[in-house]
Amino acid sequence: MPELTSPLLQYRLRWFALCTARLLLRRWQALALIVGLGASAGTTVLDNMEMLAYPLLALLDPAHGVFWRCLHLVALLAVCGLWAGMQRVQIEGGPFMAFVGALPFSTRQLRRVGIAVLLLADSPLLFLVGWALVSTIVHRAPLTHPFLLLVVVLLALAAQVAVLERRPRLLPGVAVAGCIVAGGLSLPAGAALTIELLVASGAAAALWWGTGRRVLATAAAPSLAEPAPAPAPAPAPTAPVAARHARYNAPWLQALRLSWWIVFRARRNEAVGKAALAAGCLALAWGLARIFGGDARSLGTILIAQGVVALTVSGMFRYLHLTHRDSCGFTGALPLRSTWWRPFDLAVVAALCLPFLAGLAAMAWRLGAIAPLPAAATVVGATLLLWALSVPHLFTDRHAAVLAAIVTGLWIAIMLASLT
């Protein structure tokens, strides 16, 4: 496997480290924070591990039926696909890979290098898999359990490769393979292990040899500056049309559209990822609040979920801020005040976040945990929190995540104190 020691892999890994160093650090910081919180609550290391690896360990729980297990595994694969999609630019190697596309590297060489970079991008997720594996070994689970976790890793890699190579047609196949493995767990150990071995071999072979000409890096070759499509010549606007143009081209509307485009064109993967995470929080809070039956714990759960949703979605401020800052070389010469984009960024991020905040408030009201007026107040409060969370990104890249987590914690405490 000479490609695994090649300069190409070294350059790709270095590029990935260069452009994701802070992001990767933050993910590890978040993991460390959760572990620290667990430790401060007096849990053992094993409990802590099991809490973090719960999404994987739940898959092995014999209490769950085949249907639930299939759905859960497909959801896990979808999250892994989103995880890779969110890091597409960094994993694919940037514009340099478009130049490399003109050099005589084989599809397999490029794919294997791409998968090596993908493994680095997946390191926080693989850490959780490692913990889940340790947990199964400590509990002396049957061999099919740790092996299933390894099959899930291979299938997740296959799903991620399909996402990165923009081949959505492969995803149903990966999902079906996942369902077969998840369903096989209910069979006797020998049969389950055979199924796992077969699926693992298939996934490993597909990853190693590939299934087509596209590869991780060159699938998105237009990473070199995409030629701007020549617009069709537009007819000269008539007077009423010109007036309408003037109305639609109001400066504030242009600025708002700019923020909108950054989020939904340039950062669509990140926006979808954060929306999916927020939807996950909403679903989790709904489940817990229903278990609590609308008592005081339900309100606490909903408020915590609102805080977490605001914190999660506020990450978009960083992308927006960086994009605006990068364009300052041009926009700085325009007659605009500095940080002119802030209110528009806030409006767009709030538009992304509000459905989840409002959904959580409506949920609390429906469960009888809160009256309509205070429920509306939580939405307003969470929007104010979102505004507050936009501030750290303006002044500090390095500590924004930690500051935002502290501010969110304070907000949850204040809201809990004032509403209970």
């Binding site: 090649s6 300069p7 190409l8 350059y11 270095r14 590029w15 260069l18 940037g94 514009p95 340099f96 478009a98 130049f99 490399v100 596309g101 003109a102 050099l103 005589p104 590297f105 084989s106 599809t107 000409r213 596209r214 060159t218 070759a221 237009p222 990473s223 070199l224 500056a225 995409e226 030629p227 701007a228 499509p229 020549a230």
Partner: protein
């Protein structure tokens, strides 16, 4: 040496290349056409950087679709931008391209490096180079592996007058044994190479 037939490429619903075809013998050719017509897209498709929706490309007798490695061994491409990783030095880039083409940075390439005035910058990281120096580096890399087809996108952009003259002389020399296919708006540069000017519209089949 360079031939393509029925090349089509679309970005979404917009068709950029419509069944383009042409055949080139060794020589210098400058592709001309208005901005946004698809010149850079064509070069990227010919370089194998961007897959065509349909059509075939032959590089020195090998099809880019069926035998991409052999075709790319005989090909050199320098894009308009300089998409090199900022942490790579000039020397590392040249070594990297040579390794990919399974050859060495031979004295002829070193001569190109020296004529372009790149020698003092070879140990500088690309991120610390000026745009012109980065451009020269990409152009020098095009001489590695004795290519039969050289595709250059706006090669004279960002070069000083001396470097432009050197590049024109180098391309003129190379065009005796290889196809030098350039996209450029620079008419003086095209004249300096002694290139045949081809209008983009001429690559399309007659309606």
């Amino acid at each position: 040496m360079l031939r393509f037939e029925g090349l089509c490429k679309s970005y979404g619903s917009r068709r950029v290349l419509r069944s383009l075809g042409y055949s080139f013998a060794p020589g210098a050719f400058v592709l001309r056409g208005p901005n946004g017509v698809g010149k850079s897209t064509l070069l990227r498709v010919l370089a194998g950087v961007l897959p065509a929706d349909s059509g075939k490309v032959w590089i020195d007798g090998r099809t880019l679709h069926d035998d991409p490695l052999a075709a790319k061994m005989r090909l050199a491409y320098a894009p308009d931008e300089c998409p090199i990783y900022p942490f790579i030095t000039g020397r590392e880039l040249l070594d990297f391209v040579a390794q990919a083409k399974r050859c060495a940075v031979v004295p002829a390439v070193q001569s190109v490096v020296e004529r372009l005035g790149l020698a003092p910058h070879l140990d500088t990281r690309c991120g610390a180079m000026s745009l012109g120096t980065q451009k020269k580096l990409m152009l020098a890399a095009a001489w590695i592996g004795d290519p039969a087809v050289i595709l250059l996108d706006e090669p004279s952009n960002g070069l000083d007058a001396d470097a432009r003259a050197v590049l024109a002389a180098l391309l003129q020399e190379q065009s005796a044994q290889a196809v030098v296919f350039i996209s450029s708006h620079d008419q003086a540069f095209a004249r300096a190479i002694g290139a045949t000017v081809i209008e983009f519209a001429a690559l399309q089949p007659a309606a």
